[in-house]
Point group: C2
Chain length 309, copies 2
């Protein structure tokens, strides 16, 4: 029969949960909206109750009990300390999520940040697995409603107490006022959410970034301008990285990555035009899709079990 | 008597050389212009001859022979491979400097990048030694004619094959055409050299950045604008770092750091205004001054001797 893990990827919108083999094969996957607390209630407690319920349902699908849990959450995370530092969406600040989950589920919990671990999975099993010699210096950007990211330098994930890899809130020229409180953040121009929102504001036509790319392909000048500004902003931030941590590869996932090879070719060309003697990163599409988080949760519990044993 | 090291800090303008004790105390320091090759000659050979000559002169000052050499060079460096990748000033590309120096001087050579190692020394013995708990995540910028820099994340120096920490050539809004070939590099606005040059271009008055700061203090509007633009550019790049690798401290050395506490207060305030939930780095002046490179060379040979023994 082998051993089983429970995997959870807790995002601001959805929770994904899976029962997986010790080798990381996903046997059953559940997905549902992330639980919200009752008015006056506590975000962490609401999520832990949801995880416990999901664990019961997944546990019932297997003859054997799971032996460990991989738990990823969004927001700012101190993975080493096992603490959710801050999440606007889920409504917590400085909560010891790993310890709370271990108590609630009575299993060892490998804990981490959703995008950092999804990025590790992309590097280990996805686009990074196809880089000759491995990606020792890499950036992974997940571009959807916002932009989340993770960095690897000299073969190690950059943590910096949980504050590293917040590229969605790196400043770009011409960037707009951001809900985070700063002005000029990359995700105000370069995210799929920003492209759709700005197109709607300019034209009254609603839809996703995909529709804006389609409009551009048909010669729509507003769509052209908004996508140009998004690509300029993204290439600016990638050029900054080339001068600071010098990634060899940049892996882009999320909704915007589905814009396909014209998007990647254009971004690569704009990045090349911005750089001189710097190391030019190769911009690659992510390969794992929606399961990257669950694969990352598997990495988190795999590492945790090695520590425990 | 104890054991002695020879230390060399080879910059684009000067070579500094020292005889040091095994504990890092500098006993004798020599400084002279960096050797240039004969027309058609080779930059690396000219520098190695100079080092050999300096070694003879320093060796003559001690009764005992030195047992190791710390050698730092400017430009792009692959420290682990012992290779000078590229230096415009010194005229080399892909030269195995560590092996060449070991052969020429018949001693083990600890090899590294001048600013990276000076930054390590600042962190270990200088400003970083005064950070409670140590600076696990730090950036060091040496701002003079240009801007050189080094990054530490999660307690380790970022190398990325020698391409990391090139913050002088990170892009900033409004940045100018740079000799490196890119447009918009930080050092076209934010370096001491840029401040002096831009003031000269605007007014015909020559001098250093120090004189431009003095002019600003007397109400000179041109000086005010140029220094404002320099501080905006520097705070922009530091804000980028806050979103990518999230340093806790930023240590600034070189000529511009001598502008004193109004400069640091102003830069800190502009940086704070750019950030929101990011970790706000503390901006500190460097403490080691002109010897930071030689102290860094000592770190390079200390590490090398540990490897050898």
């Amino acid at each position: 029969m082998g051993e089983f893990y429970l995997l959870f990827d807790v995002g601001g919108t959805d929770v994904k949960a899976a029962l997986a083999t010790a080798d990381g094969e996903l046997l059953h996957v559940l997905r549902e909206p992330t639980a919200r607390p009752e008015p006056g209630g506590d975000g962490a407690t609401a999520v832990l109750e949801q995880l416990s319920d999901l664990a019961d349902r997944l546990g019932a699908m297997s003859a054997q009990s799971p032996i460990g849990v991989g738990l990823l959450v969004c927001g700012l995370v101190d993975a080493e300390a096992g603490v959710g530092l801050y999440s606007v969406n889920l409504g917590w600040r400085d909560v010891p999520l790993r310890a709370m989950a271990e108590q609630r589920l009575a299993l060892p919990v490998g804990f981490g940040h959703d995008v950092t671990c999804a990025a590790r999975a992309e590097l280990e099993f996805g686009a990074g697995a196809h880089v000759p010699g491995g990606a020792q210096n890499a950036a992974v950007l997940i571009i959807g409603t916002g932009i989340a990211s993770a960095l690897v330098v000299d073969g190690r994930m950059v943590l910096s107490g949980g504050y590293a890899g917040e590229l969605g809130h790196a400043l770009v020229p011409g960037g707009l006022a951001c809900p985070c409180g700063a002005t000029g953040c990359l995700e105000t121009l370069g995210s799929a959410g920003a492209i759709a929102r700005r197109y709607y504001e300019a034209t009254g036509v609603s839809g996703g970034a995909r529709e804006v790319f389609a409009a551009r392909a048909q010669g729509d000048h507003v769509a052209q301008r908004i996508i140009d500004e998004a690509l300029d902003a993204l290439s600016f931030t990638l050029a900054q990285l080339a001068a600071s941590v010098a990634p060899e590869v940049v892996i882009i996932g999320g909704g915007l990555a589905q814009a396909g090879s014209p998007f990647f070719d254009d971004l690569q060309a704009r990045l090349a035009a911005r750089l001189s003697y710097h190391r030019l990163p190769q911009v690659l599409p992510a390969r794992l899709g929606a399961d990257a988080g669950l694969r990352g949760a598997w990495l988190a519990i795999r590492d945790r079990m090695r520590e425990v044993s």
